[in-house]
Symmetry: C2
Subunit: 232 residues, 2 copies
DNA sequence: GCGGCATATTTACCTCGTAAACATGTCGTT
DNA sequence: AACGACATGTTTACGAGGTAAATATGCCGC
């Protein structure tokens, strides 16, 4: 378990991802990641300039997984680069496909999603990880090829990002208050809501706790597309 | 400046909000908040059980501001409680009005927005601050009064939250790389993007940096309403 | 005037990120 | 084979931050 293999950035990020997946962001300390690799803490700093930068690495990982998961499909980067107007799927469907893939990747790493949402508050656009920028560029490429004007392109770009991100975040919100409780209503802790004040929340409780799923995500994407780039 | 006035939870949360607004979340430490009040750090713990709980207090503040800003309008809680079908605005417009108000409150406290997005990952639904729960309840009330079925209610509830939250988060992402630079393209740091790889990002740069504004937010809300609760 | 309670302070501890100096092992060169 | 330079990992150490526990302070009713 010692320094059998050399450290690499990939191994460091991989270890960080394992820790984050297993123990959440709170459990993700530099010391913990170092342990995971059987290495001293400061060794990590040869492969990341700071913890923040390592967090960006985690986000980048998700976007790389995204590229990989799309790679083999008609929605993938390859198909896009080929620019084959014959075999390429209609752009609207491509957007939906990308949204679905993002959804799956995000749900596979729920603890990293907060970073996806938050790091951009700090890291300016042009300093985002390459894989993230590539995803943006691909989105813009599709919109441009669709023949949208600049205004529609910008609006749809923003709308797509907002909806997909917001939807994923919303899906991952915690609803369970008491995990060991078998009775759904108690699991949610609905009994702590005064009936008088919160009748609907109580009545809909279980429904609120359920996920919307990929289908609703897809429905929203098409709704926004139709709004900001109406079929002519 | 000493302990002239007694401490209260409101004063503590207020001080925390001032610090957050002025110095961002990174600057928000318990010691800093205590300084702001001219008090020792541990004094704060009489009014909050932990820092996390204080962060929830910040989020709650925003929702209270939301209630206040809506209070005097036809979209406010009062108008809703009155249940006056005559004077009450059509529910679709009410949703748009609420979205706009949230947008304004959020932009007034950009540093708190990350907390709005993130605390729910940790805090289960029924443990959210009362003002937050009231906002949810009001939303559900409007949808129920609109005569939507349970399914449409749940879908629209989720869609509304997702879109508004995602949109606000997206609006607040950092884009400026070099704030002192007058030239827009350099301000964004576009020169760091290889032309070959990122032609569209570079071309659209300034457009991406711009805000979508309230109008696009509103447009998205109506698009999603039409999708999940189509006018009959 | 005094006991008691709410309020605020003092002390102290532990975790965390990371700077800086140091050790070690590998490899190319002669 | 010997050596020096560099890349890789370790040791040591510091300061910031959250918060537990014990302690002091001031005000209140009796």
């Amino acid at each position: 378990m010692a320094a059998r293999t050399r450290l690499t950035r990939d191994r460091v990020v991989g270890a960080a991802l394992r820790v984050a997946d297993a123990e959440g962001l709170d459990g993700l300390s530099m010391r913990r990641v170092a342990d995971e690799l059987g290495v001293e803490t400061m060794a990590l700093y040869r492969y990341t300039s700071s913890k923040d930068e390592l967090l960006d690495g985690l986000v980048e990982r998700l976007f790389i997984e995204l590229e990989e998961s799309l790679g083999s499909t008609p929605f993938g980067p390859a198909a896009l680069a080929a620019g084959d107007a014959e075999t390429a799927p209609p752009w609207r469907e491509a957007l939906v496909g990308v949204a679905r893939a993002m959804y799956r990747v995000a749900l596979a790493h729920p603890h990293v999603v907060p970073l996806m949402a938050l790091r951009p508050f700090t890291v300016p656009l042009t300093r985002r990880p390459p894989a993230v920028l590539r995803a943006h560029e691909r989105l813009l490429t599709r919109l441009e090829r669709a023949g949208l004007g600049e205004r529609a392109t910008l609006e749809l770009y923003r709308a797509f990002i907002s909806w997909v991100l917001g939807y994923i975040v919303t899906e991952l919100r915690e609803v369970v208050d008491n995990p060991d409780e078998p009775e759904p209503a108690f699991r949610l802790g609905l009994h702590r809501l005064p009936v008088k004040e919160f009748p609907r929340l109580r009545a809909l409780g279980p429904g609120l706790a359920a996920r919307g799923g990929e289908e609703q995500l897809a429905a929203g994407v098409t709704a926004l597309i139709d709004r900001f780039a109406p079929p002519t």
